[in-house]
């Protein structure tokens, strides 16, 4: 994508001066600014306990910032949390599938809540199942599926339920290593087809670099600056990319952003 084109794209998410802390706890974010452009895949990389999930809950509209604005989409003026609910596709860490619904009805949940008729919602899910690698599972229940398959359903649910922006909260962290690799490749493939804007949280540097256009690093708490690394690796990428020399270089740069403290403080390792 050319530079000119890059600048023309709208911001899918625009965060300005975000400050947040839970009552009686140290501040998590202080005057934080960042933007995400439409169609971009951006990862936020941070150690545990830095407030990654809190950031997502703020963006999704589940929490209110103490100060600052979070604007989703083009409507820069409206910063009310209530208006964000229903605009962002949130994929939680645990798949949170309803055990009493089939794959078909789980994936259709967001559409249903948005007011689409059940019949129409099911039709749209059925259409997408094959390319999600879920063909033939429509009438299965979640506990008949493997962890990877459940995450695919969860992703499809977010894809159909939300607007342009998808928030993925460490979706593969609970999967075993082999499954995780195949899910990363799967996500790359699906994303190249749909080109939704994705904000992806992870504590895995490889994962962040493999998937993203940009990686934002939250190095120290409270988070007020996100250091940025542009991932220039060509697409389409596969897991082979991880072995690439450029990749190793980027990874070295990325890890250089973390301030190591000898491991004696609360800073858990990556």
């Amino acid at each position: 994508m050319s530079e000119a084109n890059e600048n023309e794209r709208h911001n899918a998410l625009s965060v300005r001066g975000l400050t947040y802390s839970f009552p009686g706890e140290p501040t998590l974010f202080e005057a934080l600014d960042f933007d995400i452009k439409q169609g971009e895949f951006v990862s936020v990389l941070a150690a545990s306990g830095m407030g990654k999930t809190t950031l997502f809950r703020l963006v999704a509209g589940l929490l209110f910032p103490q100060s600052g604005t979070i604007a989703v989409g083009e409507s820069q003026d409206s910063a009310a949390a209530a208006s964000k609910l229903g605009k962002v596709g949130y994929m939680p860490q645990r798949d949170a599938l309803m055990p009493w619904r089939t794959v078909l009805d789980n994936a259709a949940l967001g559409l249903e809540i948005g007011g689409t008729t059940r019949r129409e919602a099911r039709r749209r899910v059925l259409e997408l199942l094959p390319e999600m690698g879920l063909a033939g599972t429509e009438y299965k229940y979640p506990d008949e599926l493997s962890g990877g398959m459940r995450q695919r359903v969860s992703f499809l649910r977010s894809l159909l339920g939300g607007g342009e922006l998808l928030l993925l909260d460490e979706p593969f962290s609970a999967l075993d290593a082999m499954t995780r690799v195949s899910m990363q490749e799967w996500l790359l493939q699906v994303w190249e087809q749909h080109r939704k804007t994705i904000l992806f949280i992870t504590h895995d540097a490889d994962e962040a670099l493999l998937l993203s256009d940009r990686v934002l690093v939250a190095a120290k708490s409270p988070v007020s600056i996100l250091k940025e690394i542009e991932v220039t690796l060509p697409r389409p990428r596969t897991y082979e990319t991880v072995m690439n020399e450029n990749f190793i270089g980027l990874k070295r740069e990325l890890l250089g952003h973390f301030e190591w403290d000898g491991g004696n403080s609360k800073g858990r390792s990556l």
Partner: protein, 264 residues
């Protein structure tokens, strides 16, 4: 169906064995009929008094079902109330849990004072027995609803009504059925107790009157029929539960479910 029959074979054989021991033991040791009557005499007594017992059976079953139905409605409403009001959760719920330690039998005579000797007092005693398990288990079911699902639905823009219908209610169904099964099993006991306190008909009244007359085989025939009623009520609820909840359980869980069902 075939496999469920195969699974219940051991217990059926065991019941037959117990019946044989009963019959042989009472005959061999020549136990007086007012202590333990012979099983064959009990069955004969049921056969001889079929019409009368049928009438009493229907009365007791009616009381149990009516009380159970009212408890199911109001127990569920109480659970909904507890779930939807923070104040009720803090005040009513602990009270309902604590009230389970009250010996309900001690309260039962009051029901006669309030509702008289007609069917009203019997139904009231059944409600005393069955309301709490339904209310508490359904409320627990609401509480056990996965908060991640609720949060996800909120990010999708779900309102209170949608959260309740699509998240809370399906989550509470297993708890509701657990409560209803417990209630079904003890509802017959409630109806029996209600009849003991005073009444003209029903199997509870029949066993008590027969016991006063030292007619062992009549007492035991009443007890047998009451047990049968309790088992049938319980199994009906369990059947409904499986019909409604079975699809959400995977095949591998279905086996353990049967195991549990057999224990009860």
């Amino acid at each position: 169906m075939k496999s469920s029959l195969a699974k219940s074979t051991p217990v059926l054989v065991f019941v037959l064995l117990l019946a044989a021991i009963w019959e042989a033991g009472t005959t061999f040791f020549d136990i007086p009929h007012y202590i333990i009557p012979k099983l064959s005499d009990v069955l004969l007594s049921i056969w001889d008094n079929g019409r009368l017992l049928g009438k009493h059976f229907a009365v007791t079953l009616g009381e149990a079902l009516l009380g159970l139905g009212i408890s199911a409605v109001f127990g569920t409403l109480a659970a909904v109330w507890i779930e939807s009001s923070g104040l009720a959760k803090k005040t009513i719920y602990p009270l309902i849990v604590a009230s389970q330690t009250i010996p309900i039998i001690a309260l039962s005579p009051i029901m006669v004072m309030w509702f008289g000797y007609e069917i009203g007092s019997k139904v009231a005693v059944v409600i005393l027995f069955t309301f709490f398990p339904i209310a508490v288990n359904t409320a627990d079911g609401f509480r056990a609803a996965d908060p991640d699902i609720g949060e996800l639905m909120r990010t999708m823009g779900a309102g209170k009504r949608q959260l309740f219908l699509k998240w809370k209610i399906p989550s509470a169904l297993p708890g509701f059925f657990t409560g209803l099964k417990m209630a079904a099993a003890i509802s017959v006991g409630g109806a029996t107790l209600g009849e003991w306190l005073g009444g003209e008909s029903g199997l509870g009244m029949y066993t008590k009157r027969s016991s006063n007359l030292l007619r062992g085989e009549a007492v035991f025939s009443g007890v047998l029929l009451l047990s049968l009623m309790g088992i049938v009520l319980f199994l009906s609820v369990q059947w409904a539960e499986r019909a409604i909840l079975a699809p959400r359980r995977s095949l591998k869980n279905k086996d353990s479910q049967c195991e549990r069902g057999k224990l009860l």
